[in-house]
Symmetry: C2
Subunit: 77 residues, 2 copies
Amino acid sequence: MALRSLGVELHCRCIQTESRPIGRHIGKVELIPPNSHCEETEIIATLKKTGQEVCLDPEAPWVKKVIEKIMSNSSRR
Amino acid sequence: MALRSLGVELHCRCIQTESRPIGRHIGKVELIPPNSHCEETEIIATLKKTGQEVCLDPEAPWVKKVIEKIMSNSSRR
């Protein structure tokens, strides 16, 4: 718990990923690069209304687009 | 607090952003698109060793590269 509060996970957090394109329901996205506790890149979205955490497939084209959109929106302000 | 646990923030979280390229110290990155409580895209990195949260500038080229690298690494597995 102490380690977790430091943002360190001791194992992979995702078991399965959401395949449906739920981009417009996403309130925030966490990107976790591979590390000593998990060799996969993990993407965890938090849904706007429910706060539910959903794992996304980093290789899914719609997921890449969601990330790109968040990054490009910030340039348009 | 209840709302925060739902992943909902009631205001912007970032006051200032890190200008130094600290990409290799980043353990995970949170992307928060503009919402009703904050009109700016916020990018919050958690540092590997300390767990410290650091705000990044979404428009900084090195920040965009960090995000791109995380996303592209996942395709190489």
